[in-house]
Structure formats: structure tokens, C-alpha cells
């Protein structure tokens, strides 16, 4: 029992150091996050350099925040994926075309849904879309991207291929893109990519 002081000291010291470091680096963290966000906004909406945070009213719970630039908007979205929420930034030009997108946070399965972070072939299908995007349904089920990309144009919308083994994640991302475009254009959100497994 004499050595019970060891874990007590370890916990107290650890808590004190973490709290001190948190407070000391707080301002640095905020300024670095703001600088990174500003750079990312300019990247997602080419042609815009200054951004203003816009207050908004939206029935779509997917929309989290809105930044207005000279050439359009950057919309922050959150959609429910397979293992947690997927936070995204989506650049949409004033004429309703997606100019860029980035996944900011996700907890999807490594090797499956987490591939969405870096799978350029999947994400590039969403660039320059103008809303009403849906996951392509082949006769035997959902068609998927594993290497090559195939895109089928359908009347009134665009079908894209899902990530292999990550249909729920793919639909969540498409849902976010559709919501962002619908917010800018004022149209209704397509429900084609919203239902789990559907």
C-alpha cells in the first residue's frame, strides 16, 4: 500500500501538464486552425480570396456552416456514415457546380470507408456535378469503384460508382454534396442516395 502514491502522482502530474500545455497553446491552435481553414476555402473555391461566414436558415440538418466567397460558397456539412459522422467542406460556385470537396473528419472502417479520404477516382466523380447525384445501381446491385471509374449519365441526374465495400460511406458523401448544391441553388435535396442500403 505504500506505493499507492505512484499512480496518484502520475495522474495528477499528467493532468497538470496537459492542462498547462492546452492553455499555453490555445491561441496558437486557434490561429493555426483559422489559417488552415482560410487556405482550404481558397483551394475549394478557385477565384475567391476573401470569405465571410454567413448566417443561414436551412431545414437540411446536413448543413453545418456556410462561407460566402466572391465566386460562390463553401458549405460545411455533416452526414451520418457507417461508423460515425462524416464532416466535409464542399465548394459550390454561384451557378451551382461543385468546385471542390474535402473530407475533414470521419471514423469509417480502415481499408473500406476510410478509403474515401484518398480515393481520387471516387471523389473526382463529384467535381463539376450540379446536384441530384446518386450511386449507380447495376442489375446485380451497387456498382463499385475499385480501380477504373465508370460513370453513367441518366436523365435528370448523374449516377456515380460507390467505393468498393463502402456503400454507406459513399451515400453519405453524395448526400452531403447534394445538400450543399441544393442549398446554393435552392432546389430540393435528392433522396436517391440517402437511404441505408437502398
Amino acid at each position: 500500500m505504500r506505493k499507492i502514491w505512484m499512480p496518484v502522482v502520475a495522474i495528477v502530474l499528467s493532468a497538470a501538464i496537459l492542462l498547462c500545455v492546452y492553455n499555453v497553446l490555445y491561441d496558437t491552435r486557434i490561429s493555426n486552425q483559422q489559417a488552415e481553414l482560410t487556405g482550404k476555402l481558397r483551394e475549394l473555391l478557385p477565384g475567391s480570396t476573401e470569405f465571410v461566414s454567413e448566417s443561414f436558415v436551412s431545414e437540411d440538418a446536413c448543413i453545418q456552416f456556410v462561407y460566402r466567397g466572391e465566386t460562390g460558397f463553401v458549405i460545411g456539412t455533416r452526414a451520418r456514415g457507417y461508423a460515425g459522422d462524416i464532416d466535409m467542406l464542399i465548394g459550390v460556385s454561384s451557378d451551382g457546380a461543385v468546385t471542390g470537396l474535402q473530407i475533414r473528419n470521419m471514423e469509417e472502417t480502415p481499408g473500406l470507408g476510410a478509403e474515401a479520404l484518398t480515393n481520387v477516382e471516387f471523389l473526382s466523380q463529384l467535381i463539376y456535378t450540379t446536384g441530384d447525384v446518386a450511386i449507380a445501381q447495376s442489375p446485380t446491385g451497387v456498382s463499385a469503384v475499385s480501380g477504373a471509374t465508370s460513370v453513367a449519365e441518366t436523365s435528370g441526374g448523374k449516377e456515380i460508382d460507390a467505393l468498393t465495400g463502402a456503400t454507406v460511406t459513399s451515400k453519405a458523401i453524395v448526400r452531403s454534396v447534394n445538400s450543399a448544391v441544393a442549398f446554393v441553388t435552392g432546389s430540393s435535396v435528392s433522396t436517391a442516395a440517402t437511404s441505408w442500403g437502398g
Partner: protein, 144 residues
């Protein structure tokens, strides 16, 4: 150097180091996606602490009362101090972290006590840890 409080001390150190690294990454690499504080991560932390405890003080006796108390405090307080949890998460992180750590400690200790001693014992201990980690990923996938 058998000390039944060594495990809890090592747990606090491992959690501290992990949270400090995550804080620094969050400050200087704000675009990075940090791992969520979920069951597989808590299992990983627990296994690292258990392996260190086995290397430093093999065969230490376990006092599960103190394991429960100290692990609750560790998982409830340290993420709060590091800014990765709010006050509302205090009880959730504490209870879940305590339960997972206690369960992993029991499983690991039970398995290690049944291993034969000898030159291959250290590799077997690491294999037990890997097996428990993989099993926890399957389990968390089932309950999510």
C-alpha cells in the same frame, strides 16, 4: 520490482503521452484527422500499458479494486484536461474506459499466466496482446 500499482502508473503515463501527441498534432497540423477516442483505441492503450507492465514487473499481482478506481480517474480526467472531452463526457469516458481496461486486464493476465515460461514466452505475450486487439475490433464492429 513487483508492484501492484505499477500497471495503473503505466496506464496514466501511456494515456498522457498519447494525449500530448494528439494535442501537439492538433495545434501544428490542424488538417490532420486524429483517431477517435473509442473502444479499439482504449483497448490499444490498455494493451500497451499491460505489455510495459509485463516487461518491467512480470508476474505482478493485480488489485482489481484499485485498477477500477484508478482507470476510471485516468480515462475521465486526462481527456478532459487535454481538451478532447467536455464535462458531459466525464462519466461516459470514465465508465467505458474503466470497464474496457478492467476487462482487457483480466483477459490479458489470465492468458499470460497460462503461458509456459521460457525463451518463447515474450513473443507469446505479444501474440496474446495482438489477438485481444483484433478481437476487440471485431467486437466493437458488432456492437456499433
Amino acid at each position: 520490482m513487483k508492484n501492484r500499482f505499477m500497471l495503473n502508473t503505466l496506464l496514466a503515463i501511456v494515456v498522457f503521452v498519447l494525449l500530448l501527441c494528439m494535442m501537439l498534432l492538433e495545434v501544428f497540423l490542424p488538417a490532420i484527422i486524429l483517431p477517435a477516442i473509442n473502444i479499439p483505441l482504449i483497448v490499444l492503450i490498455s494493451l500497451v500499458a499491460l505489455l510495459l507492465d509485463h516487461l518491467i514487473a512480470p508476474g505482478s499481482r493485480r488489485s482489481y479494486v484499485f485498477i477500477v478506481i484508478f482507470s476510471f480517474v485516468t480515462f475521465a480526467v486526462l481527456p478532459l484536461m487535454a481538451g478532447f472531452a467536455c464535462v458531459h463526457d466525464f462519466w461516459r469516458y470514465g465508465v467505458v474506459g474503466c470497464a474496457v481496461f478492467t476487462a482487457v486486464t483480466f483477459l490479458f493476465s489470465s492468458a499470460v499466466h497460462r503461458l509456459k515460461t521460457g525463451p518463447k514466452a515474450r513473443a507469446a505475450v505479444f501474440a496474446v496482446a495482438v489477438g485481444i486487439f483484433l478481437a476487440s475490433q471485431v467486437f466493437s464492429g458488432m456492437i456499433l
